[in-house]
Symmetry: C2
Subunit: 179 residues, 2 copies
């Protein structure tokens, strides 16, 4: 599917950046739904360059440090927009180790079960708080054609997702405590 390809093209379609910058983007809100390590990013950038979808310009930081500032080509924009417009069949639901564990939870004694659930709950509460904090940035819905719109959109989705996960966990903790 080459999804990373399009993630990178999409970022470069907004503004030129370095491989390092792309890695940083993946640690922000976008990282809630897509990410890659630099060991995947740099080879992919080379590939996209070979395909003529991006170009770069070497910039000097300080005295000698070279960085490659990548930007998207016309061909790259076309490829990106073609991908962006595509309506695709639903992907298989994403893997989730914790839920796999809970699938087998009948083999756990009740206190251990509660402990695992509460441990998970705490972490989701922290993530939710973090997401809400990020969301404060948006005072209202950003203009639909601004770069911020997508960020607002998926942050909203991430917050809903965490909220419902927390509900689910709390629900089952309560049930287990009633046993």
């Amino acid at each position: 599917m080459r999804t990373l390809k399009y993630a990178i093209l999409g970022l470069l379609n907004n503004e030129p950046m370095t491989g390092y910058d792309i890695g940083k983007e993946f640690s922000k809100d976008l990282g809630e739904f897509w990410n890659a390590k630099h060991s995947q990013i740099y080879p992919e950038l080379k590939k996209l360059f070979d395909e003529g979808l991006i170009v770069y310009e070497i910039q000097i930081s300080g005295e000698i440090l070279e960085k490659k500032m990548y930007s998207i080509t016309e061909e790259g924009k076309e490829a990106f927009l073609k991908w962006l417009k595509q309506a695709e069949p639903l992907e298989p639901t994403p893997k989730d180790v914790f839920r796999l564990r809970m699938y087998f939870s009948n083999h756990l004694d009740v206190p251990t079960r509660i402990h695992l659930l509460e441990h998970q709950l705490l972490q989701h509460q922290e993530r939710l708080q973090h997401l809400r904090k990020n969301n404060e940035r948006h005072q209202s819905i950003p203009p639909h054609d601004s770069v911020d719109f997508g960020d607002y959109f998926i942050l909203d989705g991430a917050i809903l997702r965490e909220t419902v996960t927390i509900q689910w966990l709390e629900n089952f903790i309560q049930y287990c405590k009633s046993l």
Copy 2:
């Protein structure tokens, strides 16, 4: 992390089955949170056998068709239970191509955006219906130490997840239509 290893051990901990059966399990409710193709299952079974965590008995179906009925060993049970009890740090949030696409949605004209959202919505509605149908099997919460408990638990989570995804999509469709 060898998660597939534990998914398989967990299934065999419930009852002996063949590689083919394991594949079928991954196409049921469990598949909402973990799955693997047979090309991954068979080599993993060989590996688990080499590690002494499972054994098999050859059974004949019909006249000649051999099938390997796998069952878990004591060592396998121990390994499985040890894994099951572990409280682990939150995994990174799962990748989601559609949300990645929507992150870049400011580059789409509004009708295309609505079309993509509605296409996605329809598919999630179908999945939700399918999950609800599966859930009818459970008249009430199964006993906490029965094999059905985990199934009920994660089905409930899957239904909540789809419900909130649909809410999110409907919300944004409405917003886009107001533009």
